[in-house]
Symmetry: C2
Subunit: 189 residues, 2 copies
C-alpha cells in the first residue's frame, strides 16, 4: 500500500487551506485525514493532538502574515508605512478568514515567543519611527494600532458593520487617516 507521505508541515499546510474553506472551527483531525485518504489514527504520528494541529496552524498564519506585512512595509515610512501595514493586515485577514481565526488562539508564552508574534510588534514599532513617539507612549501606540486593526477586521468579518449603509471601505480609509493624525499629535501625558 503506497504511503501518503505525510509530515507535520504538509498537514499544517492542508489544515490552513481547509480552515479558509470551511472555517477554523471545522478543522478537525478527521476532516484532515479524509483529505489525505488515510485513517484518523495515522495523523497522530505527526501531530500530538487536535490542539497541537491548531497551534501549528496559528503559528503558520502568524508567519505568513508577518511576511506579507514585511513586504508591504519595505521602503515606506510615515503615513505610507501605516497605510501599507494596515492594508496588508486587513487583506490577509479577509483573504484568509480561517487562518486569521487561528491566529486569535491564545498561545502559551513559549510558543508565542518562538512564533512570529514578536516580529509583528517589531514591525508595528517600525511604523512609529516615522512619528515622534518615545517610550512608554510608543508601546501604548503599538497596542492601540494593533487593537484597532484587529478590532476592525474582526467586527467587519462578524458583520457588525453591515447594519449601516456607510461603506466599510470608506470607514477604513478614514480610520487610517484618523490614526495617522492621532500619531502625529499624540497627547503628551
Amino acid at each position: 500500500m503506497a504511503r501518503a507521505g505525510l509530515t507535520a508541515d504538509r498537514l499544517t499546510q492542508a489544515a490552513a487551506e481547509l480552515a479558509d474553506e470551511v472555517g477554523f472551527e471545522n478543522v478537525t483531525v478527521s476532516a484532515l485525514a479524509r483529505h489525505f485518504g488515510v485513517k484518523d489514527a495515522s495523523l497522530y504520528s505527526h501531530i500530538r493532538n487536535a490542539h497541537d494541529l491548531r497551534v501549528r496552524l496559528a503559528v503558520l498564519a502568524l508567519a505568513e502574515l508577518a511576511d506579507q506585512v514585511s513586504d508591504a512595509l519595505a521602503g515606506r515610512s510615515g503615513k505610507d508605512a501605516l497605510v501599507a501595514f494596515a492594508n496588508a493586515y486587513r487583506s490577509y485577514a479577509l483573504a484568509h478568514p480561517g487562518r486569521y481565526a487561528a491566529m486569535q488562539m491564545a498561545l502559551d508564552p513559549d510558543t508565542a515567543a518562538t512564533s512570529a508574534a514578536g516580529k509583528h510588534a517589531e514591525m508595528t514599532r517600525a511604523i512609529l519611527r516615522g512619528y515622534d513617539l518615545w517610550e512608554p507612549d510608543q508601546t501604548d501606540a503599538v497596542r492601540l494600532l494593533h487593537s484597532t486593526f484587529h478590532g476592525y477586521v474582526s467586527l467587519e468579518r462578524a458583520g457588525a458593520f453591515h447594519s449601516h449603509p456607510r461603506g466599510v471601505e470608506a470607514s477604513w480609509i478614514r480610520t487610517l487617516d484618523a490614526l495617522d493624525s492621532l500619531l502625529r499629535a499624540w497627547p503628551v501625558g
Copy 2:
C-alpha cells in the same frame, strides 16, 4: 420522577455561567444537561440545537452588556462618557470572558436586528454628541471606537500584551486619552 423544570431561559442563563467558568467553546449540550442532571436529549425540547443555544447566549450577553454600559453612561458626557463607556465595556469583557466570547459570534441579520446590538451602536453615537462630529464621520468614529475597544480587550485576553513590561492598565488609560484627543480634533476629509 420529579421534573427539573427547564426552560430555554434557564438553560441560557446556566450556559452563560458555564461559559464564564469553562470557556465559551466548552459550552456543550452535554455539559449543560449534566449540570441539570438530565439527559442530553431532554434539552432539545427547549433549544433547537447547539448553535441555537450559543446564539441565545450571545443575545443574553449583548443585552447584559448594553444594560451595564447604559448605567455607566447615565448623566455623563464628553470624555467622561467616553471613559465610562470604555471601562464598562472592558470590565464586562474581563469579568465575563465566556459571555464576551459568545458576543463575537456572527449573528444572522435577523437575530442581530432584534438583539441589543442596535442599542450598542446607539449608545456609542450618544458619546459622540459630546464631540463635534457629523455624518458620515460619526459612523466612522463609532466604528473606530468599537474596533479599538473590542480589539484591546480581545488582545489583552489573548495575552498579546504580556510580552512587554508596560502595564496593560496604563496603556488602556492612555488609549482612552488618545481617543478623546482624536475625537476632539477629528481630521476633516
